[in-house]
């Protein structure tokens, strides 16, 4: 059961089974970018998404889906915890890697 948090906003995330990539929930499917993710204002909506997201565990698409807290800062979604900020971007000490990397610099092909 999702807890109503003090910020009140939550996002659903998981890792893709085949390559471990960080994914976010949007409109009943998974997307790559935090900025595109659905932001849930109610615990009921977050729980419903989590339940739907678990369906993708059962079909081997993702592992360990969970909800995390975000705040809305001038229209931008920002995770409350540093951990989720780093997960959404990539290592802070290698800004050429992870989601924060510009596609042209990202030689590694994560498509499957």
């Amino acid at each position: 059961m999702a807890q109503k948090t003090k910020t009140g906003f939550q996002i659903l995330t998981a890792n893709r089974l085949r390559d471990g990539a960080v994914l976010y929930w949007k409109d009943g499917a998974w997307v790559d970018a935090l900025a595109d993710a659905d932001v849930f204002e109610s615990a009921e909506a977050a729980d419903a998404a989590l339940e739907a997201g678990r369906g993708f565990v059962r079909n081997q698409y993702v592992v360990t889906p969970y909800l995390f807290d975000v705040v809305l800062d001038k229209g931008t979604v920002k995770p409350v915890r540093e951990r989720e900020i780093i997960r959404a971007a990539g290592p802070t000490i290698r800004t050429d890697l992870g989601k924060q990397a510009k596609p042209s610099l990202e030689a590694f092909d994560v498509s499957i």
């Binding site: 471990g20 360990t64 540093e82 290592p91």
Partner: protein
Amino acid sequence: MYRYDEFDAAFVRERVAQFRTQVERRLAGELSEDEFKPLRLMNGLYLQLHAYMLRIAVPYGTLSAKQMRMLAHVARKYDKGYGHFTTRQNMQFHWPRLVDVPDILADLATVEMHAIQTSGNCIRNVTADQFAGATAEEIEDPRPLCEIIRQWSSLHPEFTFLARKFKIAVGATEHDRAALQYHDMAVQVVHNAEGRLGYLVMAGGGMGRTPYVAHVMREFVEREDILAYLEAVLRVYNQDSRRDNIHKQRIKILINAIGPEEMRRRVAREFDEIKASGSLQLPEEELQRIAAYFAPPEFEALPDTSQAFEAARARDHAFARWADTNLSAHRAPGYAIATISLKPIGGVPGDISDKQMDGLADIMDEFGHEEIRVTHEQNMVMPHVKKDDLFAIYTKLKALDLAADNVGLITDIIACPGLDYCDLANARSIPVAQAIAKQFADPDRQRDIGELKIKISGCINACGHHHAGHIGILGVDKKGVEYYQLQLGGSGAEDAAIGEIMGPGFDEHEIAGAVERVVDAYLQLREDGERFLDTYRRLGMEPFKNVAYQEQLHAAY
């Protein structure tokens, strides 16, 4: 170096095939994540923040040129062009895809490498002194025993499902470079009063949430009895450890709960039973057979002073500086042990690129070096370098950006991957290491400060050995914000000690400054010949604590 025999090769090949099937079954939905997780962990595969992480065993930290090239190949083909050496002398890749891991393991198997028992509740990869076989200080090369322990412990039916992981290290010198006393169990090669060679066995050391320095279990174990004795310790641990609480499952908790005396008694009883059964005797010929693999290269008869080395040292100031910090005495005249620092100022401690790995392999081939070592301090070592070759090798290291001249100094910092990569971390470690290194970048200032070991962990699990740092730093999470606790006075060497926590933590912008104030206080307070650790031991926490919090106190008032 040790070479696989047909059994080793078949064993690793079979394991790769087995894991390939397990991955296929997982992807097909025949295995759930709960069922698959222990299987992947037994093969060193974790799921971290951004991706999977594969931890590859480097037994006792020894690698051949061929293996270095294979690690470079894995970094290039399957990862993002780099790898990370850990405090367990292993290599971690941060970005492999699950679907590629069976191929990675198959490639590694072609050069006698694997990821078996680099995770899970089993006996982990055995570590050793990185100067093994090269230093004049040692009684004998500790690696043959490491290899025997590796063979004994690989898939040991009794010890594959322990309460928790179990780490073993082996050393053979008075000066401890392998953090022996912080291991679940450690073996030190010693002579007894009659001058006979045998082993001192310690157990119950460890870091993490509840740090302990190991207790001596037995001062002297005869050579042929060593496996029987290690097995006796493991049996007592396996039978008596608590399995009800994850924080109390390591052997250190058991030994400190029942007391070292009682532990020694239980181990002795078990040891007597094993001995009486006549099993697990280690025949001298088998020990010698394994030891032959580790025979040192044929050293040339050289004068200890090399004209070429002395001339290069006199004309090239940077080389002289590198030589002063990165070279250690070798057992053979005319040779040196060269440590390659993986701590360039502003770099990531322990990271190495595919090009650097290939470059090191080229240097090894060109200068006829069969092996290279990984250190638990996240550096590398060329164990047998002719002094005549040192300048040429240094020049090539410099071209590879591998000539940092800071071994043992304040910028030679251990740091775990921390919250930049690790799923367990509470705070980042690497940026703190980088900030401190930049603050102390001046080479003359580093040399003035002298030996000072900073060790940083991003969580209480202590992969960055913060308890053993002269200055230890522990990252904690305070309501989603990273804070850093300072610990002073730890040591992972023969004078092992657990650092004392100073007090409330510093935020990410304050921590490097606090370290600098502590170091400045040391420079003012030290007496002749004192390292930071010596001054701390003489004066205690108070003077350092006062200066560390000074700025904060001023701000608060």
